[in-house]
């Protein structure tokens, strides 16, 4: 099982803080990998926040393939950050030959296109690059979106952090929002794509626990949207459901909870909005989750969300100070980075709650 965490801060913070959040929870994961998605980034990317940022790990040939593709499709590279890596054989990391973090300018013909068209372009480009690299196992594309950076690697999280200089407070890499987890070993194959957080069109999601309705979710989602693919991890379906509810249907956030963990029929019948809730339960029965899960999500506007399965079989806790809100599977993680917070304000979300944390760190507890 994974331990998952997220930091939302008024001031941009380094990835080191995310590591300090996760490593105390080591008893609950197996230090088999490290994955992190940062949003609202500062440091080297400060001046390119509106330009799509490609996060990728690949071979040398993979870089060439991507270069050719991007050039052919009118993307112009405007910035690049090449991490200064520590090539020490004693480090436990299965490093890829190249790590690419690049900002691009949209193709010229997209200058006056709508936001939706741009979003579709970024998704289609990521999927095309992924497919291109997959053909001969030349690498992985994790995200391609403005102001979003993703790092994933197999190995010991501490060593991975050393490899990328993430322990340094060099302020090259800072973000106000970080979603993180320290495990690569999934129930299925060890594939970099299988490590959370997962990303799709501005939506990021981390989840733990077995998804016992994975087959149902997957079979349904596969025909809902072209971006719902891969399925290397059974938790990807949580992200796709979130994207479907918010991005495709444009329904209010609480309905995400209603759809993945619907209320029992007899409870629905007693409610004033029973007609709506019954319709959702009927129509989206295949998006229900029915296992033990905790979920952390990050929305395009930076809002963080958190909820659990309907039986609350997985732990999760939310704590905050005036300048930072943190979500973690275990409270020891919070104690590590927010030791002086008022613990009486810690929130242990119930099985029928959905937590949102907005950019002012205002926490809303939505009751299902």
């Amino acid at each position: 099982m994974c331990r998952i965490g997220a930091i939302k801060s008024k001031e941009a913070v380094p990835p080191k803080l995310a590591l300090e959040l996760m490593l105390p929870q080591q008893e609950g994961h197996d230090n088999s990998g490290f994955a992190m998605t940062m949003q609202d980034i500062e440091g080297v990317f400060t001046h390119y926040k509106d330009k799509p940022l490609l996060s990728m790990a690949c071979t040398v040939k993979g870089v060439q393939l991507v270069n050719e593709y991007m050039e052919l499709h009118g993307f112009v590279q405007i910035a690049q950050w090449v991490p200064d890596v520590v090539k020490d054989a004693s480090l436990d990391i299965q490093a890829m030959p190249r790590y690419v973090f690049r900002n691009y300018e949209y193709p010229e013909i997209y200058r006056y296109r709508s936001q939706k068209e741009r979003e579709d372009l970024l998704l289609d480009t990521r999927l095309a690059l992924r497919s291109l690299l997959e053909e001969e196992d030349n690498g992985y594309v994790y995200s391609f979106w403005p102001d979003v950076l993703t790092i994933k690697e197999i190995g010991d999280p501490s060593d991975i952090a050393t490899y990328f200089h993430l322990w340094d407070d060099s302020s090259l890499l800072l973000a106000k929002n970080i979603v993180v987890q320290c495990r690569q070993n999934t129930n299925y194959d060890i594939v970099r794509y299988a490590a959370h957080p997962f990303f799709l069109q501005g939506y990021t999601l981390c989840a733990n626990g077995e998804n016992t309705f994975f087959t149902k979710n997957k079979e349904f989602q596969a025909s809902l949207h072209r971006g719902y693919m891969g399925f290397e991890s059974d938790s990807q379906t949580f992200l796709y459901s979130l994207h479907y509810v918010l991005h495709e249907q444009k329904w209010p956030i609480l309905y995400y909870k209603h759809i993945i963990t619907p209320l029992p029929f007899d409870e629905i019948q007693r409610r004033k909005d029973s007609s709506v809730l019954m319709l959702l339960r009927e129509s989206l029965a295949n998006l229900e989750i029915n296992g033990p899960n905790a979920i952390i999500g990050m929305l395009p506007d930076g809002t963080m969300i958190n909820c659990c399965d309907a039986k609350k079989l997985r732990p999760v806790v939310v704590g905050r100070t005036d300048s930072m809100a943190v979500i973690a599977s275990e409270v020891c993680g919070l104690n590590s980075i927010l030791p002086h917070r008022d613990t009486s304000f810690d929130i242990y979300p119930g099985e029928r709650e959905l937590i949102t944390i907005d950019n002012d760190l205002e926490i809303t507890r939505w009751k299902q």
């Binding site: 626990g209 016992t212 309705f213 087959t215 309905y255 909005d273 709506v276 129509s283 029965a285 033990p292």
Partner: protein
């Protein structure tokens, strides 16, 4: 050598022979009186005995004539193995024995095509028994406790809309319904299948209806029952209990005059309407109620004279699926103000996927359920040749339909209900769970209900005389004397207890896979010992 008339029928030519022990028999005559098939008779047997009453043998001869019980060597009055003689005999002096050397099939056609009731006696294969629930929650996720956790076991009946078609608008933080949607009922995933008053005795039908009421009102399980073709008593049509009933319309439209006339007086809507196109036991055949079962009360309910009632093979005027949708579905929906789901029942067939595809793509969104009945389903009366040699197994057919829907992203929009052999072994919960994992929303049972009522028929040739009107258990007859054999309260109680056990067992299967709601389409929970079955159904093979 003596001449033998080999074409004469002897007892050993029949399916069942009577084992009779005269030394135990008290000659009370109960067995003869109880046998509804007139298969045994009291007769006299002459015996010559040689004996000696002295130490040194002095043989004497005595000739006695004694009354005995004897089986008739007759096709029309043959023993069917029902065992009523054994049930009633106070001294265990008599019982039927299956005769593996029977020549019945070779001689019975002398009377025309043989008919029978019950299930196919030829197709006893059990695909479901080579499937086990093998994905058990161990360390990946916690198994649930079937007695402590709450479970949410309901299945839809009604047309479920695609999420993109939901008429919802956002108002602030809420969604609001802005147009009407097709009715969907969430009911218990075990549905009592369509057996008419006529096929069943009024007492048997009443016992099932009583069990349904009890299950709903006392046990809070929303079990629904289909009326079968042939209408319902007016009193029931105009009572609150109608909410538990799914009214069937089949090709003979029997009983619908009364139903239509009762519409203005209905106090509640029925649970659904089921259009019967065919049934698994005898696909391509219409319903059949032999005249000997058309008693005066059946004539009254159906509005017919005493004659054999043979429903047409087809609904008159329906030549295509589109017509079915536009004529029958639409008119029945309209009749009940679009408040009642209208579903369709077909015999499983090589064409089922095509039918399901057409219903799924129907632009009116008006079909509220696809009931598929497999070859192992039962019937009140059929030609034996149809029962044994026509039809389609249900397991792979349900899976085919579900997978066809998955390929189009339409799964769940028209609920799939599976029947035909569910609970053949007595363990309907396991069958239901497996069918649900393969894609069914729920299952329906018919023959199993009769067996719970007390029916002794089985798929090994025992009894199955539902078509004769001489049902020895009073279940499939309209003979008042026979009906009295069925104790309504006990029969209803048997069904209630079985469904409560079913509910407990279903939870016992849900708990180890970690689910509290029905795992429809969760094929990863299943595996099969049989590689061919695993490959066909798209589940794991294990050995």
């Amino acid at each position: 050598m003596e001449t033998v008339t080999i074409h004469d029928i002897t007892v050993n030519d029949l399916d069942w022979t009577i084992a009779y022990q005269p030394e135990l028999c008290t000659l009370c005559g109960s067995c003869v009186a109880a046998c509804t098939f007139n298969a045994i008779e009291v007769t006299a047997q002459a015996r010559t005995t040689t004996f000696s009453e002295t130490a040194f043998p002095k043989p004497q001869k005595k000739r006695q004539t004694r009354p005995v019980i004897r089986q008739k060597a007759s096709l029309t009055d043959r023993c069917v193995g029902c065992g009523m003689c054994e049930k009633i005999c106070p001294n265990h002096a008599i019982h039927p024995v299956f005769n593996p050397h029977s020549r019945k099939n070779f001689i019975s056609s002398r009377q025309g095509p043989p008919r029978q009731g019950g299930r196919s006696n030829l197709n006893r294969q059990r695909t479901l028994d080579s499937i086990v629930i093998g994905r058990i929650s161990q360390m990946t996720d916690p198994a649930l406790d079937s007695e402590r956790h709450t479970f949410d076991l309901c299945a839809p009946l009604g047309r479920v809309l695609a999420p993109s078609d939901l008429p919802l608008s956002v108002e602030g933080d809420s969604l609001r319904l802005v147009a009407s949607v097709p009715p969907v009922r969430w009911i218990y995933p075990l549905l009592f299948s369509d057996m008419s008053i006529g096929a069943l005795s009024t007492r048997a039908w009443e016992a099932i209806a009583l069990a349904v009421s009890y299950l709903n009102e006392e046990c809070h399980l929303p079990v629904r029952m289909s009326s079968g073709e042939g209408g319902m008593p007016l009193k029931l049509l105009t009572s609150d209990k109608l909410q538990y009933m799914i009214i069937q319309i089949a090709s003979g439209h029997f009983g619908w005059n009364r139903i239509v006339r009762a519409l203005p007086f209905m106090r509640t809507d029925p649970a659904g309407i089921l259009i019967k196109i065919g049934q698994g036991a005898k696909p391509g055949d219409g319903g059949l109620l032999p005249s000997n079962k058309v008693g005066p009360h059946i004539q009254a309910i159906r509005g017919v004279p005493k004659t054999t009632l043979h429903s047409p093979a087809n609904h008159q005027g329906l030549y295509s699926i589109e017509e079915s949708v536009q004529k029958m579905h639409l008119s029945l929906n309209a009749a009940f103000g679009f408040r009642v789901p209208v579903a369709i029942k077909c015999a499983a067939s090589a064409t089922s996927v095509a039918v399901y595809n057409n219903l799924l793509r129907d632009p009116y969104h008006i079909c509220g359920g696809f009931f598929l009945d497999g070859i192992q389903g039962g019937t009140g009366a059929a030609h034996t040749v149809s029962l044994d040699h026509t039809g389609h197994p249900i397991v792979s057919k349900i899976r085919d339909c579900y997978q066809a829907a998955v390929r189009q992203g339409l799964q769940g929009q028209i609920p799939l209900w599976a029947g035909g052999g569910i609970g053949m072994t007595g363990q309907a919960a396991a069958d239901a769970f497996k069918m649900i994992c393969l894609g069914a929303n729920g299952v329906f049972i018919g023959k199993l209900l009769l067996q719970l009522l007390g029916c002794v028929g089985d798929e090994y040739g025992r009894c199955n005389q539902c078509n004769t009107g001489r049902c020895p258990t009073g279940i499939c007859t309209q003979d008042y004397r026979l009906m009295q054999r069925l104790d309504i309260d006990t029969a209803a109680e048997n069904i209630v207890r079985y469904v409560l056990t079913f509910d407990a067992e279903l939870k016992k299967l849900l708990a180890p896979v970690g689910n509290s709601s029905l795992p429809v389409g969760r094929s990863d929970a299943l595996l099969s010992w049989d590689a061919d079955i695993a490959a066909k159904l798209g589940i794991q093979y294990a050995c």
